[in-house]
Symmetry: D2
Subunit: 108 residues, 4 copies
């Protein structure tokens, strides 16, 4: 089941996990109100990565287009997360930037 998407599939599932973990943890922070934009983008990015994951694994004719959009959402979520000092935000930013990079490779 080797595919040209292999690296990007891995990046998307790691980013999906990191975003959902960050979403869950942000909602439990004492300063949850300050994390609103992070919570919003975590959901955006987790759903986008899940969508890309499904598309690549079903060999969608639109996988490249979807990855191009995914790169944009990952970049934005990474930028937001990197502003916050919580470990889950910093880890999420890292996964987001890695996924954006992997998605750009597929899209180009």
């Amino acid at each position: 089941m080797k595919s040209v998407y292999e690296e990007c599939i891995k990046a998307c599932r790691e980013c999906l996990e990191a975003c959902n973990h960050c979403f869950d943890k942000c909602l439990m922070e004492e300063d949850a109100g300050m994390m609103a934009e992070c919570i919003r983008l975590d959901r955006e990015c987790a759903e986008m990565c899940g969508f890309a994951l499904q598309a690549m694994t079903r060999n969608s004719p639109y996988a490249e287009d979807i990855c191009q959009l995914c790169a944009k959402v990952c970049e934005a979520c990474g930028n937001e997360c990197s502003l916050h000092k919580h470990d889950h935000c910093q880890l999420c930013a890292e996964s987001c930037f890695a996924c954006a990079e992997a998605c750009r490779k597929i899209a180009s």
Copy 2:
């Protein structure tokens, strides 16, 4: 395209819309930190209703099982939303309870 699911499909898409609207608005409230549980359940319920909507419209062999679970999630989201005075929470609670009822009819 009339189907036995028609009423429930309508309830699920209205509930999905109300939950996503409530999610968006909760994140913009000054007391967003107080709305954490509402934000979490709004996402749970919107994704669950979207999943049920896809299942019913594709005539899934698991539509009944999925609706049974959807009723449980809608009920919980409705209970949480009904605790908050914001209009979007009150409207969301109403849609959640209506959707729970429609889902229970399908499941039984």
Copy 3:
């Protein structure tokens, strides 16, 4: 809960329903083997419309981008469906073209 997306939300949910109905019916046709591309694109389009529906109703910062991509997928699914004489294919093509048009309005 009036929104600039109202018309497009309606078009996406109708297209989602038509594509899933067509997917279900194609799998039951005697010539299901001839319908492979239609079955594939029906799934692509139903999932894409569902994704756009969730994005618009949660006021996603990426709703326009997602609708732009959705227009492309709808157009392709409509083109494929219009080649087949089954009623469910013809109805699906109609919903796809209408949704593509509504998505383009949002994207522009």
Copy 4:
């Protein structure tokens, strides 16, 4: 980010990949018409596993319920796939049964 769901998350993403791969390959088989039920259940199971994956990684209060349903869908898809001699069907059946087992552990 270690979690009680770790094994089940892995099983769900492997099953999602196997089901989507099988879906794609079935649509390209000369006997695609004979594979209609396999194609249908591959989609059911891939979407169900994706839904469970999102739920577990966001620490959903409904993860157990969702895994219980996922086990049922995986079992059915595995049973169907195991009837077909294609490699992608046999591999898919294996992933489905493994995922059903992992989901049952979470649900119980």
